[in-house]
């Protein structure tokens, strides 16, 4: 599948050198684009295809009291700069007051802009999310953003391929988030380096598009450039009828192309990994990289258990930062904060699953819990379904859409020493605030943990 998408997007190629690859969709946000637009203008260049470019504001937007405007002067200037740049270059912007605003990787699929067989780039590493549709989607730096703005192409060396098969059937309470945390735990945080991963197997086929997006989203946390899942009826049903989905005869033509995308049986990959999905359990990270996780029934590991010296050293470092003692059962770790949000886990299905866990319950008195929907449309949908009432009645803060405390560029931030169960994608030191301690979990686990005040095995939560 990767080869098919790659080959159909090569504008020109050289022997052994890079290929010039056409970009079908360029997603833009406020943080990684201002210097690209400035560079473009300094060179007297224009945006080649504003109609294949779409922008939204997500990283720096406040998620509370938006009517008061953006109080951080730097964030305000950054967002105003994007508004100006889009206006000057004729680029569609889903701005802060637009119902289509949201996290860029939630917005693309929601609008039907993300479709199988496309190439999609964005100045954001979690662009891998869109691979869930059988698109080749990857994050780029600001120089490359400028290159795509000017030429609608990118010069890229062809990556290697890796297949990850997830066999079996997930147990109740085990989610897509647990699958990807389990995968990264197995392959390591640079296990996918230099590769595009293709995920398949019965567990992947049984997942919804939301679940598939969660998996592809965190491909980058396993070091891979991109993750892809073959499009099938689940994919087509999700795309059909969306604003930018093909209609009528065009839909039929598109279906023909998309149905031919999946990898042919017997195709070979540069590396192949197999995972037993039936054996997976809910995961919790204990360390400061997404590979450092254990089953919720497990305990904080002893660094001496690791064979490699580098892993031992990393574990010692992580436990000191996380202030955790080896041997402590994961469910005994008390929490201060819960963050339900991010491009990994803030789509409608994630909010439904989380709300299910807290109906008629109350957030633990020590815990400060917030829900940040992935987009304004997800927020509106959740409100129509009454999910906001469930969260608010339980004592959760119900916020506006944005990246929020996934990376804490806006006012949502952990205080030093605070411990947070988070549905986001990175537990790096200081990611959610200097000195903050992040544990990555599924939306179900985060919601139940908010009530219990500590991690819980959601398989027995009732």
């Amino acid at each position: 599948m990767f080869d098919k998408v790659w080959d159909t997007h090569v504008v020109s190629a050289s022997n052994d050198g890079p290929s010039l690859l056409y970009v079908d969709l360029h997603l833009v946000h406020e943080v990684t684009s201002p210097q690209a637009f400035a560079g473009l203008e300094a060179a007297g260049r224009t945006v080649r295809r504003p109609d294949l470019t779409v922008a939204t504001v997500d990283h720096g937007v406040p998620t509370a009291d938006r009517l008061r405007g953006i109080t951080d002067p730097l964030s305000k200037k950054q967002i105003d700069t994007l508004v100006d740049n889009c206006r000057r270059h004729g680029i569609t912007l889903y701005g802060i007051d637009d119902p289509r605003q949201g996290i860029v990787h939630v917005v693309g699929p929601e609008q039907g802009l993300t479709q199988p067989g496309m190439t999609i780039v964005c100045g954001d590493s979690h662009t891998s999310t869109h691979g869930a549709f059988g698109a080749l989607a990857f994050g780029i730096g600001t120089s490359e953003v400028e290159h795509v703005l000017a030429t609608q192409t990118l010069s890229q060396q062809k990556p290697a391929t890796m297949s990850i098969t997830v066999d079996g059937k997930l147990a109740r309470g085990v989610t897509a988030k647990d699958v990807i945390l389990g995968i990264i735990n197995q392959i390591g945080v640079n296990g996918g380096s230099g590769h595009v991963i293709e995920y398949w197997g019965p567990v992947i086929e049984a997942l919804s598009m939301e679940g598939r997006m969660t998996i592809c989203n965190m491909s980058i946390e396993g070091g891979a450039r991109a993750g892809m899942i073959a499009p099938d009826d689940t994919t087509f049903a999700f795309v059909e009828g969306k604003t930018f989905a093909p209609k009528g005869a065009a839909w039929e033509r598109a279906l023909e192309e998309w149905a031919a995308l999946p990898t042919d049986t017997g195709a070979t990959f540069d590396r192949e990994v197999e995972i037993d999905g039936s054996a997976l359990s809910p995961h919790v990270t204990w360390g400061t990289n997404p590979g450092q996780s254990v089953s919720v029934t497990g305990a904080i590991p002893d660094p001496s258990e690791f064979d490699a010296a580098a892993d031992r050293q990393a574990a010692e470092h992580a436990l000191a930062y996380m202030d955790l003692e080896p041997g402590t059962p994961i469910v005994d770790v008390p929490l201060d904060r819960v963050f339900l949000g991010s491009c990994t886990n803030a789509r409608i299905e994630d909010l439904r699953a989380a709300a299910d866990m807290v109906v008629g319950k109350k957030v633990h008195p020590r815990v400060d819990a917030m829900v940040v929907p992935g987009s304004t449309l997800v927020k509106m949908q959740a409100e129509q379904e009454g999910l906001d009432r469930i969260f608010k009645d339980a004592g959760f803060d119900w916020r506006d859409a944005g990246c929020s405390m996934c990376l804490a560029m806006n006012p949502d931030i952990l205080a030093p020493g605070e411990r947070c169960a988070s549905t986001s994608n990175r537990n790096f030191e200081g990611r959610q605030g200097r000195g903050g301690r992040t544990h990555l979990v599924s939306p179900e686990m985060a919601a139940a943990a908010a009530v219990a005040g500590h991690f819980v095995d959601v398989r027995t939560w009732g």
Binding site: S12, G17, G141, T142, S143, Q152, N289, L407, R431
Partner: protein, 200 residues
């Protein structure tokens, strides 16, 4: 981009594994719209105490490393976020090359694009260079010959021929691509019409 030829200067050691771009430039410094001036934010949380005062014990705050030009680091350097700010901050602080056993893919691309040289060497070579860096020794990188040398030892590194050529000539990659504009036009002619577009 300025051409890159040879780099000679003090090497600084930072042997931690998986130094992510959130550590290289924490997010609170990504709100600026400028491309320059990120040097003071490099490794900010490691270089400063909670009050924002420089921590004299952090390696890059030590006087012998103030003019360091080459950073010697652990594996998976630059993993995580795609922020090019990480490369800008390293350059702004005076670094022209990073030597590590491995780099994250996006960081490596960003580095090449801004003319910061990411040099991959095996762990034993990196260990030898770390030892020299611990003494604030001088290291020389010769891009033309693809070598890293210091105090009588020399290591060779790999680099894609076209990237090497681009770095040596200081090419403008966008200008280069725009020379193929006819090929892009032709490609657009044959794109499927059902692909989405944001037309008014």
């Amino acid at each position: 981009m300025e051409p890159v030829h040879s780099i000679q200067g003090v090497a600084a050691p930072l042997p931690r594994a998986a130094i992510d771009t959130d550590q290289i430039v924490p997010k609170q410094f990504l709100k600026r719209v400028e491309r320059s001036g990120y040097g003071p934010f490099l490794f900010y949380d490691w270089a400063h105490d909670v009050e924002g005062e420089p921590d004299p014990d952090f390696v890059l705050n030590r006087p012998e490393y103030l003019d360091a030009r080459i950073l010697v680091a652990g594996p998976s350097f630059g993993c995580g976020s795609s922020r090019e700010h990480a490369t800008w901050a390293l350059q702004d602080r005076g670094f022209a090359a990073v030597i590590a056993p491995s780099f994250a893919d996006i960081f490596r691309n960003n580095a090449y694009n801004v003319g910061l040289l990411p040099i991959e060497l095996d762990q034993s070579a990196v260990d030898a260079l770390l030892e020299i860096a611990e003494r604030a020794g001088t290291v020389t990188v010769d891009l033309e010959r693809q070598t890293v040398s210091s105090e009588g030892i020399e290591f060779s590194f790999d680099i894609e021929p076209h990237i090497k050529e681009n770095l040596l000539s200081g090419i403008d990659p966008i200008g280069e691509t725009l020379r193929s504009v006819a090929a892009i036009d032709a490609f657009e002619e044959r794109r499927p019409a059902f692909r989405p577009a944001l037309t008014d």
